[in-house]
């Protein structure tokens, strides 16, 4: 108990801050911050597995997040029958061609010794394959994108409950990580960072521009929800009764019946959105706790010890007979899969998929700030980092506004400097993140909650 005191203290302060937001701003804002904190926590756990456990640098978090989001779309949206009949065959055929191409390349790689001829053969296979695939898929893609472009114009998904996408998102992200890992994991750390950053940009480019699959920048809206809809809740009897009971003290003060009804309605509308957010919080909390238990177990298992050994001294671990390459690949896939879950959760919560909103600042570098600030190698630290940084990211605008008003209080309200500063308040969050990261890296390089390895 004693040694965990700082963990408990840190988390209590964090919870207290969120509750303060609930009291002073609104419970709605507090809960949406809390939900996104939970999602960020899942992402940081993924990044922490790679960086904290194994020392692998992965700047491709944005790509895996987007793939998780794509999974949410592909799982939950109902299939668009017309699009399938218009161009589905071509797409399926191209898919087979891609698989055939990959198998052919693999066959050549296995069958022949490394030589110039082999390189040329592989290059020919790939180029021919791409040309063939373009010929096959082009009419299909055009046909699909012509099907009611204002509403659909894509193939749709499988029409399953969106919760399944959390698992599928993990599979997607893990699959991509496997391919990237095979190509890039041999590189030195900062090189790997650049390579993964570039790959994630390409993933986003594909998601943005392959309209037949994702609707691209036209966005997919109105995804199914695992939680009830506010509008339905507002007409359900048990919910209205619940809200009445909760606010009975306030309602009893109002004697007039019509007024009382109006006040109740207001409470029901407010309560419904809070209730929906609470549903999400519950779901996310379950995911976070399951992942936390699994990652903690893994950290203290023989496997976790091996990973730390590999991180701290690769050559020595190799000499002890540990397969470093294989373990690196495994942890790269695992971490990315967790990030994929977070991506699917994010889209589930928003109910919409907007490929244009995936930006490296928000989805890659911010997550890294979370991991570093929280404490890499320590799961509790990483989660705390997710909470703290996300909280600051959201609340820095009000804080910034307050500071600007304070420092420029001597100036006239229309003074150009004051107007300019107030306009640029949203960018203070970058300043805060950067300064925070630099300070933590300088004075507390292991993060708020540093890694502590206890040998049991």
């Amino acid at each position: 108990m004693r040694k965990n005191l700082n963990v408990i203290a840190a988390y209590s302060i964090m919870m207290g801050l969120i509750i303060l937001v609930g009291i002073f701003q609104s419970w709605n804002i507090a809960l949406s911050i809390f939900n996104l904190c939970l999602i960020s926590a899942v992402m940081t756990m993924g990044a922490n597995i790679q960086w904290g456990y194994a020392g692998l640098i992965n700047f491709g978090i944005m790509g895996y997040t987007a793939l998780g989001g794509l999974a949410a779309v592909l799982i939950s949206v109902n299939p668009v029958q017309e699009a399938w009949s218009a161009g589905g065959l071509n797409i399926l055929f191209s898919l087979f061609l891609i698989i055939g191409m990959v198998l052919a390349v693999r066959y050549v790689l296995k069958k022949y010794e490394k030589s110039k001829t082999r390189t040329y053969i592989i290059a020919t296979i790939i180029i021919l394959g791409i040309i063939l695939i373009r010929f096959v898929s082009e009419p299909g893609i055009e046909a699909i994108e012509e099907v009611d472009p204002a509403k659909t114009g894509f193939l749709g998904g499988f029409g399953l409950p969106i919760i399944f996408s959390w698992i599928v998102g993990a599979l997607f992200a893990g699959g991509l990580a496997f391919v990237i890992g095979k190509v890039a994991l041999g590189l030195r750390a900062d090189y790997l960072a650049i390579a993964t950053l570039l790959i994630s940009e390409i993933v986003i480019a594909i998601i943005k521009h392959e309209d037949w699959l994702t609707r691209g920048v036209k966005n997919v809206i109105g995804l199914k929800r695992p939680a009830p809809y506010e509008v339905n809740l507002q007409q359900t009897d048990w919910f209205i009764n619940l809200v009445e009971k909760f606010n009975s003290s306030k309602l009893n003060l109002i004697s007039d019946f019509a007024e009382r009804q109006a006040a109740l309605n207001q409470f029901v509308i407010e309560g419904s959105s809070i209730f929906v957010k609470l549903c999400y919080s519950g779901l996310f909390l379950v995911v976070v706790i399951i992942l936390l238990i699994l990652t903690q177990k893994a950290l203290y298992s023989p496997w976790g010890r091996m990973m730390r050994a590999i991180r701290d001294n690769e050559e020595a671990a190799n000499a002890m007979g540990k397969n470093v390459v294989k373990q690196h690949l495994l942890i790269f896939v695992l971490g990315s899969a967790i990030v994929g879950i977070a991506g699917a959760m994010l889209v589930t919560q928003d109910g919409l998929f907007t490929p244009g909103s995936y930006r490296p600042m928000r989805y890659t570098f911010l997550i890294w700030v979370m991991v570093i600030v929280g404490g890499s190698g320590n799961n509790f630290g990483a989660i705390l980092g997710g909470f703290v940084v996300w909280f600051l990211w959201i609340e820095s605008a009000p804080i910034g506004l307050y500071l600007v008003n304070l420092t420029t209080s001597g100036l006239d309200d229309t003074h150009f400097l004051k107007v300019h500063l107030i306009e640029s308040v949203p960018y203070f969050r970058f300043l805060m993140m950067g300064a925070g990261l630099l300070l933590i890296m300088r004075y507390r390089p292991k993060g708020i909650l540093p890694e502590k390895i206890e040998i049991k």
Binding site: I57, A189, Y191, L198, L421, G434, L438
Partner: protein, 336 residues
């Protein structure tokens, strides 16, 4: 005649833009490679440092415009660049003193320095956006074209026009002057030689009496000059928007690595390799084939290898191929 038209077409839409874009990338890539070679870390703040320098160029340009100083047909920005460079170098040295120095003295691993550069990236980005805002800004003035498409057609009687923007010419000229001065400095002067020695083998360089403080300072000064000029040229040619500059970091990194990281000459050529392949692979060749091929064989489609949306994909694919087959880059750099 048709053949000439086809060549002019390629010159107009591929060669000239790619040469200008490549020069801008090359300056950025030399910046990355110098930092990597001498200070030994991947600088993720590259794009934002360039936008920082450009911001000062724009501010000075506005000032000069407001007091009525100009260069006539040339853009005022050229006059503003030297002043911007001074501020930029000051900023760089300030960052180095307060941020990077500590890690350099402690001999931190390069990964940690790269992480620190992300902190610098955040701060720089915030400063740029707070001072000048996130929106698109054009600060070009003066004569826009050296040759207009219409004039060229009248002059030569060809049906294809060749338009050369003055910014493209300025970009290429400035790059040539700057890069040749830099290579002269690195190869012929004593300071340049000691910089190369320091990059090659730090311990040996220290043993032979090279002052590391001086080397680091000069590296930051050169880096500041390169970042400001590269950024300003890009902004003159296209437009200034902080987010675009941040994104430009990716092809710049690709150029530096393709050329062989730590090797300035490789980075210089790498910029052109990336620029040309991006534009060659995403250009629609329909019109070209219409000129070259007989009418019966004219293509139906756009004959575009990749849609323009996949520009980044091109630079990355080149990067992967280079990494797989020549990990040290086309021109031998440091093996990573």
């Amino acid at each position: 005649m048709d053949f000439l038209n086809a060549i002019i077409l390629l010159l107009n839409y591929i060669f000239v833009p790619a040469l200008a874009y490549g020069s801008q990338l090359a300056l950025g890539a030399i910046f990355v490679t110098l930092i990597y070679g001498i200070l030994r870390f991947a600088n993720f703040a590259t794009g934002d440092m360039m936008s920082f320098g450009t911001m000062f160029t724009i501010l000075f340009t506005w000032y000069f415009q407001s007091v009525g100083i100009g260069l006539g047909v040339l853009p005022t920005a050229l006059l503003a660049i030297p002043f911007a460079v001074i501020f930029m170098v000051g900023y760089m040295l300030l960052i180095d003193k307060f941020v990077f120095k500590y890690y350099r003295i402690n001999k931190s691993p390069p990964v940690q320095l790269a992480m620190v550069s992300i902190g610098v990236m955040f701060v720089t980005q915030a400063v740029v956006r707070i001072i000048i805002g996130p929106s698109d800004r054009r600060f070009f003035d003066g004569e826009k074209f050296l040759i207009r498409a219409g004039e060229f057609k009248d002059m030569t009687g060809l049906s294809e026009g060749l338009a050369i923007k003055s910014t493209q010419v300025i970009t290429i000229l400035v790059t040539v002057i700057l890069v040749s001065t830099l290579f002269w400095f690195l190869n012929k002067t004593k300071t340049g030689k000691s910089m190369r020695a320091y990059s090659d083998n730090e311990d040996l360089a220290l043993l032979s009496g090279i002052d590391p403080k001086k080397i680091v300072m000069i590296t930051w000064i050169i880096a500041g000059i390169l970042a400001t000029i590269g950024g300003a040229l890009y902004g003159l040619d296209k437009s200034f928007k902080p987010f675009t500059y941040f994104n430009n970091m990716l092809p710049i990194f690709a150029a530096a690595i393709v050329g062989g990281i730590g090797n300035p000459f490789g980075a210089f050529l790498g910029g052109y390799v990336i620029a040309f392949s991006e534009i060659l692979l995403t250009y629609a060749y329909k019109k070209f084939f219409m000129y070259v091929l007989p009418e019966s064989m004219e293509p139906d489609g756009l004959v575009q290898l990749l849609s323009t949306d996949y520009k980044f994909a091109v630079s990355f694919s080149i990067l992967v191929i280079v990494l797989l087959y020549r990990p040290s880059g086309i021109f031998k750099g440091k093996v990573l």
